[in-house]
Symmetry: C2
Subunit: 367 residues, 2 copies
Amino acid sequence: MKNIAVIMAGGSGERFWPLSRQAHPKQLLCLGNSGKTMLAEAIDRIRAQVDAADIYVQTMPHLLAPIRAADLGIPKENVIAEPCKRNTAGCLCYAAAHTLAKYNSDGSDLVLAILTADHRIGDQAGFQRTVATALATAANEAALVTIGVPPDHPATGFGYIQAAPSEGDATTSEELPTVHRVKRFQEKPDRATAASYLAAGNYFWNSGMFFWRLDQFRAAFSLADPAFSTAITQMKAAMQAGDDALVTQIFEGLKSISIDYALMEKAEHVLMVRATFPWEDVGSWAALDRARRPDAQGNVVEGDPVLVNTRNAIVCNHGKDMAVGVVGVENVVLVITDDAVLLVSKDHTEDVKQVVEELKRRNSPQL
Amino acid sequence: MKNIAVIMAGGSGERFWPLSRQAHPKQLLCLGNSGKTMLAEAIDRIRAQVDAADIYVQTMPHLLAPIRAADLGIPKENVIAEPCKRNTAGCLCYAAAHTLAKYNSDGSDLVLAILTADHRIGDQAGFQRTVATALATAANEAALVTIGVPPDHPATGFGYIQAAPSEGDATTSEELPTVHRVKRFQEKPDRATAASYLAAGNYFWNSGMFFWRLDQFRAAFSLADPAFSTAITQMKAAMQAGDDALVTQIFEGLKSISIDYALMEKAEHVLMVRATFPWEDVGSWAALDRARRPDAQGNVVEGDPVLVNTRNAIVCNHGKDMAVGVVGVENVVLVITDDAVLLVSKDHTEDVKQVVEELKRRNSPQL
């Protein structure tokens, strides 16, 4: 049995403007403490279980060049692009077809790990224990496997997984990545529902990471929605024939639907591995507080700005020869590059998208 | 009788960093609505009473070149520099000596108007009426004359002038620049004292503008502190002899003391003309609110930044190709140039000096 990893890196991360740009997405930013990009960190994490030659990054066409240009330690041709956006169901069918074609396999000897690059994972060893369990479960149980993260607050920004108790095990430890039957996938809840999930104790954040044998994946889709399993078979053949136009044509014909709706909620045998690592969404500037270690005044700084009477601020000076002074403010994010400046209250980091929208209207070169 | 004007422009205006720089002081910034620099506005204002050839700008040696380079409509050689800093008493003695030497006069035919460039004067005609009265009073009354501004709030940032009622006049109008005997000069008060001054009705802000016949000025100094009147005579002679080293030596020997302490509080015959124009200190970024017209959200913007959910902010983008986004903040000043960014709460604009101090310690090129 061979382990293959596909890291999803198609997002644009507009909420990280001005560091993220159309040709320099969030995945290529160094948002953690390691000095490495989010994508490089994701690749490093899976190297314990998967050879570099078998790690793929799947993105969008306009990001192929910048991601290939980044020094990620995997073959350049392992950076691949979906022809267009077709939500996660299309995305994962494309990954399946590409893997089946590349390894010329019926899938019974291949376990695919679908991973993400836009979360901070605090404990590398814990991640690797969890992933080892997920890979083994996918290989041995002939199940679709996902990772569920024990919530520590009633987050409304994630989908949830309602899990059954761990099989025959009353002594689960937080150290052990226990395996649970999935009862239901739940959409992003409102605050009250999220609080009830947290209180119930058997709801987990849907990490968006999946593990499956490719023959199982295709078989599950042939029951849930045969259009997708047919597309996998056809795209595999077209890829092996080198017929890119046909691949695109088939892919464009797919429904745009999430993998949760299209497959996971319908599939018979779905298991969840409980994560034994801390997992943080790095979805907006405010999340840098959690990804970095603030100083005694609560500030997170980069690029040597001068701070006076300033608290709980994030100040990132990425300008080459920029002097930056910050005086008497609290609870804001200030990001400087050589051609752009963003100032945003920590309570409004979602609204950075509105700045990006306006700059699009202006045909601004700073996108 | 000839009117001469000397505009004081020696300050560095560090509180306007990053627009003000060591070689580009506040006086050379366009802070009002006219599109002209503060210094150009000051020169324009006095042109009604003084010929361009008789208008001087007195500054510090390192600012000679940038001020001469600015197109101010006066002869380049009329931009002069004191050898070093010796407070306002030294400054005004230097101005006196330079004028006496240049016009080769004993001073009895010269009225000197000492003006400032760091205030916003809202009503040009009102200013000119007041100055005309001050010049005439200085010429005819053989008095040291100052301009006092009727306070409209209990400001603690200015010195005050305690004035006697206008002579024999119960019908003073706000339109008329009445002349008052000065009882006392008062230092910058605390808030309670400022409130009592405002309530009393006969206290005025000390504008720092002065008018005197040069023979009167020297004579008053020979009574108040003969060291200064001697220095005026000696510097005049040294200037006429072209002996710069001697001028510097005499000037450096002067006490560093304000003109209020050294002369105005001691002189016999001091008069105040009540200003008939609005007068605003433009001492820090927060003052731009008053110098410009904010939009409906209370924002003052320059350089087309993108503002989202932002109120009562000043956002000045002077970068050549800078995109600027501001989201969800209030009551701040954000100033951007091609090599520097300043973010400061409106309540802390005085502390911009601390940023400048730190940049000095770092030998930062952005000063």
